[in-house]
């Protein structure tokens, strides 16, 4: 990772409740980012657990990171990429079965609008980088600077990926509306 977070010499001993105070506000963001990449909800839950546990194990170093949240998001991205790689390596076709399971639960929650769940499927088809950028900007509302740090990208590269993702989603939605194809 090229980007390094400012390390301060001072380290503060953290107990469990201090740690949770720092971590819980962004726990769901970690979960949603993991789910965006890993697709399956269970896997995303496991990833969240594992990532926060890793943070807890390194809690004494945390105060050294200027921005624990950004650091956690970077960790999440790297962790999920590793998971996806090892999944590909072991030739597991989990993605497909999870796709269906997730869709039914999603549909139940979103009966009020079909086209909203279509957006979910469209994002799933985007390249990983664009998925990340859409998630971090349009859902989690981080600024370009922060996203750049998290993904180790220049802010302009973030904008380019984001613009592509937004345009693709929009065009696909228009196509579906015009031709009635799902």
């Amino acid at each position: 990772m090229k980007f390094s977070y400012n390390l301060s010499i001072e380290t503060i001993k953290m107990n469990e409740s201090d740690f949770l105070k720092v971590v819980l506000p962004f726990k769901d963001k970690v979960f949603r980012l993991a789910k965006r990449l890993l697709v399956s909800k269970d896997e995303a839950e496991d990833a969240t657990q594992e990532l926060l546990f890793k943070l807890w194990k390194n809690k004494d170093k945390l105060s050294g990171y200027r921005n624990t949240e950004a650091f956690a998001m970077t960790m999440t991205k790297n962790y999920c990429f590793d998971r996806l790689k090892s999944k590909q390596a072991s030739n597991l076709t989990l993605v497909h079965s999870n796709y269906k399971e997730k869709d039914t639960s999603l549909d139940k929650k979103m009966e009020y609008r079909d086209s909203v769940s279509q957006v979910h499927k469209l994002i799933e088809k985007l390249p990983e980088q664009q998925k990340l950028v859409i998630q971090l900007r349009d859902v989690e509302e981080y600024d370009y600077e922060e996203i750049g740090k998290m993904l180790d990208l220049k802010p302009t590269a973030v904008r380019v990926a984001l613009s592509r993702a937004r345009k693709t989603i929009r065009e696909e939605l228009i196509k579906q509306h015009n031709y009635g194809i799902i």
Binding site: K27, R32, T48, V119, L162, R170
Partner: protein, 139 residues
């Protein structure tokens, strides 16, 4: 908000040139439920983003290791092993000491019986001497 302003913002939005504030304005508009017909695709997009943001992880975070820590088990096992070796050694030493003690005791016993034998012999000698003395004194 006027429609043309929204359209302007959308143009910027697609080019990823909007600020977070401008995007918040767009979100508000598209979640208002009162969206112009020709912008419906955006309603789905912003609807989905808002929906996704509400999704939370249901699992509680576990900070203590749930898995059995095998390393600790091995530490415990080696402690038990060391302790039993130590205890076994102590027992062996004790047995050795006991055996030595018994040996010493039996030696001492033998010595004392032999000494006693000597004493008895001496006692009879004294008796002899006494008698001799008596005889010579009485003379």
């Amino acid at each position: 908000m006027e429609l043309f302003k929204i359209e302007q913002l959308l143009e910027k939005y697609l080019n990823a040139e909007t600020t977070l504030q401008e995007e918040a304005t767009l979100k508000n508009y598209f979640l208002s439920g009162n969206v112009a017909q020709h912008l419906q695709e955006y309603e789905s997009m912003f609807g989905y983003f808002a929906f996704n943001k509400a999704e939370t992880s249901a699992k509680r975070i576990q900070l203590k290791t749930k898995k059995t820590n095998w390393r600790w088990l091995s530490v415990a096992a080696s402690v038990v092993l060391l302790f039993s070796v130590y205890m076994g050694n102590e027992y062996r030493k004790e047995q050795q000491v006991k055996a030595q003690y018994a040996e010493v005791m039996s030696t001492l016993k033998m010595l004392s019986t032999n000494l006693n034998k000597g004493n008895e012999a001496m006692a009879s000698l004294y008796v002899y001497e006494d008698t001799v003395n008596k005889i010579f004194k009485s003379k």
